[in-house]
């Protein structure tokens, strides 16, 4: 869509939206948010970009084909499920790694990897559908 306001606003917003989606994603385990919501916001960001600048430009910004995103998402889900099996625990058992830095501590876990998978699948799904609808119409 050719609109100076939309173009300018989108340029300013896209970074904020992507950051916001990551923020929602990472706080998700303790505060409202998570992979699904974060993914929806992220997909919203790329949808906005596609409306403003067209799908070709969005593909370049995204760099990865959205279906590949879905594939990596599914891979993360499966890997997060398989990790506990290597230490002889059932599929999808949550495994945690606590790293203490002093100032703030980090929790790394298989549920986090699982949530990354959800995030990628949601973004990949919506962007795939939006691209297909816009390009093929």
């Amino acid at each position: 869509m050719k609109s100076l306001i939309l173009h300018t606003a989108t340029r300013l917003m896209i970074g904020v939206l992507v950051l916001f989606s990551l923020f929602l994603f990472f706080r998700g385990h303790d505060e409202p948010g998570g992979g699904f919501i974060g993914g929806l916001v992220g997909a919203g960001a790329f949808t906005l970009y596609a409306i403003a600048f067209g799908t070709e430009a969005t593909r370049q910004v995204l760099r990865i084909h959205p279906i590949t995103l879905i594939a990596y998402g599914l891979l993360s889900l499966v890997v997060s499920g398989l990790i506990p099996m290597f230490i002889a625990e059932p599929f999808l058992t949550g495994k945690w790694l606590f790293i203490e830095w002093g100032a703030f501590d980090t929790k790394l876990s298989t549920p986090l990897l699982f949530d990354i998978g959800v995030y990628l699948c949601v973004v990949g799904f919506i962007v795939t559908v939006i691209f297909s609808l816009e390009e093929e119409g």
């Binding site: 869509m1 929602l24 998700g28 385990h29 303790d30 505060e31 409202p32 948010g33 998570g34 992979g35 699904f36 919501i37 929806l40 916001v41 997909a43 919203g44 949808t47 409306i51 959205p66 279906i67 879905i70 998402g73 599914l74 889900l77 499920g81 099996m85 290597f86 002889a88 059932p90 599929f91 999808l92 949550g94 945690w96 929790k107 876990s109 549920p111 986090l112 699982f114 949530d115 998978g117 959800v118 699948c121 949601v122 990949g124 799904f125 919506i126 795939t128 559908v129 939006i130 297909s132 609808l133 816009e134 093929e136 119409g137």
Partner: protein, 791 residues
């Protein structure tokens, strides 16, 4: 053993990067993996030869009903198969690196072939019935990928689907059979079942178990009439055919029958079914191999014949048959693997595998010729090759068949005559005789492509001349594990002049005779009818079944999904009304006790706003855009209600989903023509009645649900356990990614598949297939879609 299987899977997943790192050398590096596994398995040889078995077990899934263990069981039978899989696998990885060196998908080949290798190794090493099935399905799945490797070609895709459908349906039968067997005995480990044979054989489910298991084994091991997928699978690149379709995967069915022989075997019905199907398969396919001129097709049908022979031997179930089975499997894996690889090398270097277009390649490809000649001599069963010992034992077993030995031996000899002729065809035609102009200028294949066939051919000679190298160490344990009791024997090339030897000489003479008149025989109308009946007949049956299924699906789709959205809604709502309404009235009855005490002022305001918004949509909803935005407003209103009750996650999701839904629907609506409400008055009334009743029913249902006392046990558990168990304070997220992660995984997979389906449906329009129902609507909305581009 778990580590070996897991390591193969792990390396498979990183193999594309190994290829990127080492380029042409990647094949040699990746081949170290199966070679290492081979050495590991071989290190157990002395232990197994001493009559021991190895068992290792890791709990995988633990349920109240039963446990699924990643249990592994190594005895003679699984050890021999494991050695074949890893040994020939080493050569195949090397061979593939040469054969596909100029092919862009080479990394994908490494990945798929190693995945297959891991799965196949899993099948033969697994002890638990469920894990056998899982690995079994993985081999079907990876073979689907490998057969359809050149996916740009339609016949590859078709052959891949054919193989997947046939072996997949068989796999389902197998699962049912294994589960029945597990529940019948209460044992889920094969090692335990081996001692429970009498319980299974006398169980009322025995016949069902037997037929289901045979369904799985016969489809996988290409027994007639399911044999057609195997020659079709020759559409795969030759390294795949050599590995999957001669040395390993097709033998999975034979392996399973051999494995379960002590459990299910030695009954009359087993003899009839297993022996009978094996005998029919070996006879029919042996002669079919003579009706083709493509080297791979000839070899494919001779492989089906070999599978038939193995099945028949298992069916016979005698001590000598088990001895023959052990030797036959090993000798077949060696000569057939070698012959397939040479056929591929000929194709690769000369540009064709049609024996009529080849000739005189011997001076140009001397090493390949040597390998092919030795392997073919072994296949024809000529001394001193290992194949000779195998064939002698097959004849001995046939002569001692518990039922109709005269018929069994005659049919076996007739089939083997054809195989002798086939062996001659695949080596004499391409390599000897006058030089024939080939599409490509032929030269010797690279070392990666001849090292495998040559090694296998040399082993065929070595084991033939010095059979004691493998008899006590491997063949005796194999025959003992199939037989169920320890048996002891030694092998030798020379048995004296006895009936099998005379029959062998007869076979050889007959084969040479057939070879002399092969051109005439192949062109004769009798052979054409034979080929049409036995090779094409089952394919026609399969095609008919698939076409019938598709037309049934087409009819059903045209009837239920006729493209009118309002019809879909009516169908869904009426079904819901009847199904839920009936259950509701019958089981619960109406409840009417709405209470408005705790409703806040702002909630009243919101509810009124939602109703007003809906009213506006209904009253002024002449354009779809207004309606969609109106529906979006209603959704936002719901989100506010969630928020008031502290469900922040739900509210956020609702807002985001509503927003994206409006965008998606608008993108679709651009292409849809304007609303023309052409409904008659009666249908408007009908729609109204359906809409109001559905709404009323949902209201009553929710009232009834909220009236039942709420059991807070589960929600309290989540609230309490969320932080201590899952280290997260957001219960919704913890439930999604931890407590109920398996549900989420299922949902995400649905999302992923839906995404692929949308993509495929929309992209398909571009190719404008004439028979697709949406190609017509695409034309009518053509003008609208042009506007859509400017969005």
């Amino acid at each position: 053993m778990l580590i070996v299987v897991a390591l193969i899977f792990a390396v498979a997943l990183v193999s594309p990067w190994i290829h990127r790192l080492f380029k042409e050398k990647a094949g040699w590096i990746l081949a170290l993996l199966p070679f290492g596994s081979f050495l590991y398995l071989a290190s157990w040889l002395p232990h197994i030869a001493a009559g021991n078995v190895v068992q290792q077990s890791t709990t995988w899934v633990s349920l109240a009903l039963f446990e699924v263990n990643l249990a592994f069981y190594l005895d003679g039978l699984s050890l021999m198969f494991g050695l074949i899989i890893t040994g020939i696998g080493t050569f195949i990885v090397l061979y593939g690196s040469g054969y596909l060196s100029k092919y862009a998908y080479l990394p994908r080949f490494y990945c798929a072939i190693l995945l297959f290798m891991g799965s196949m190794l899993g099948v033969v090493l697994a002890d638990n019935l469920i894990s056998i099935f899982v690995f079994w399905e993985l081999t079907s799945f990876t073979s689907f990928i490998l057969i359809g490797f050149t996916h740009e070609q339609e016949n590859s895709r078709k052959a891949a689907l054919q193989a997947l459908l046939v072996t997949g349906i068989g796999g389902l039968a197998l699962l049912a059979g294994l589960v029945l067997m597990g529940f019948a005995t209460g044992h889920w480990e094969v090692s335990a079942l081996l001692n429970e044979g009498d319980i299974v054989r006398n169980h009322p489910y025995y016949l069902a178990i037997l037929i289901l298991v045979l369904g799985g084994a016969f489809t996988k091991s290409a027994q007639f009439p399911f044999s057609f997928w195997l020659p079709g699978a020759m559409a795969a690149p030759t390294p795949v055919s050599a590995y999957l379709h001669s040395a390993t995967m097709v033998k999975a069915g034979v392996y399973l029958l051999a494995r379960l022989n002590p459990v299910l075997g030695s009954t009359e019905i087993w003899l009839y079914l297993v022996g009978g199907f094996g005998l029919a398969t070996l006879l029919i396919s042996a002669w079919l191999s003579l009706s083709f001129t493509d080297m791979k097709q000839i070899l494919a049908y001779s492989t089906v014949m070999a599978l038939g022979t193995m099945t028949m031997l298992i069916g016979l179930g005698t001590e000598i048959a088990m001895k023959g089975l052990a030797v036959y499997i090993l000798s077949h894996a060696m000569y057939k693997g070698a012959l397939f690889m040479v056929a591929g090398a000929v194709d690769h270097e000369a540009g064709t595998r049609d024996v009529l277009k080849l000739g005189g390649l011997r001076p140009l490809m001397p090493i390949s010729f040597a390998a092919a000649a030795l392997a073919a001599i072994s296949m024809a069963g000529i001394p001193p090759l290992y194949g000779f010992i195998a064939k002698e034992l097959v004849y001995e077993a046939a002569l001692e068949a518990p039922l109709w030995p005269v018929i069994v031996i005659s049919l076996a000899v007739i089939a083997n005559i054809a195989i002798v002729a086939a062996s001659a065809i695949v080596v004499i035609r391409p390599f000897l005789g006058a030089k024939v102009e080939t599409p490509k200028k032929a030269h010797e294949a690279p070392p990666s492509m001849w090292i495998g066939p040559l090694s296998l051919a040399v082993l065929s000679v070595l084991f033939g001349v010095l059979p004691f190298l493998v008899d006590k160490s491997l063949m005796v344990p194999v025959a003992s594990s199939v037989y169920g009791f320890p048996i002891d024997f030694y092998l030798s090339l020379w048995h004296g002049i006895n009936l099998p030897l005379i029959l062998s000489i007869l076979t050889l003479a007959g084969g040479i005779l057939i070879y002399r008149f092969w051109d005439g025989l192949r062109e004769s109308s009798l052979m054409k009818i034979y080929q049409a009946g036995f090779a094409m007949g089952p394919i026609k049956g399969y095609d008919g079944l698939v076409a019938g299924l598709l037309s049934l699906a087409g009819w059903q789709t045209r009837t239920i999904q006729n493209g009118l959205m309002s019809n879909y809604l009516i169908t869904i709502l009426v079904t819901l009304l009847i199904a839920v309404g009936y259950t509701f009235l019958a089981k619960s009855g109406l409840v009417w006790n709405p209470s408005f005490e705790n409703v806040l002022v702002q909630e009243w305001a919101l509810a009124i706003a939602i109703i007003v918004a809906l009213g506006i949509i209904l009253a002024f909803g002449h354009s779809r855009l207004t309606m969609v935005i109106g529906a979006g407003v209603v959704g936002f209103g719901l989100a506010l209600i969630y928020l008031m009750h502290g469900a922040a996650d739900l509210a956020m999701t609702q807002v985001l989903v509503e927003t994206l839904t409006v965008i998606l629907v608008v993108l679709v609506l651009i292409h849809v023509p304007k609303i023309k409400d052409a409904r008659s008055k009666t249908s408007k009334v009908r729609d109204g009645v359906i809409a109001v009743s559905a709404g009323a029913m949902m209201t009553l249902l929710i009232l009834a649900v909220t009236a039942t006392p709420f059991d807070a046990f589960i929600s309290e558990f989540y609230a309490e356990a969320s932080y201590p168990l899952a280290h997260g304070r957001n219960i919704v997220n913890v439930i999604l990614v931890d407590f109920r992660a398996l549900d989420t995984m299922g949902e995400v997979v649905v999302v992923a598949i839906a995404g692929l389906a949308v993509y495929a449906l929309i992209k398909m329009k571009r190719f404008g297939s004439a028979d697709s129902p949406d190609s017509r609507s695409a034309d009518s909305s053509g003008a609208a879609s042009k506007q859509g581009k400017t969005l």
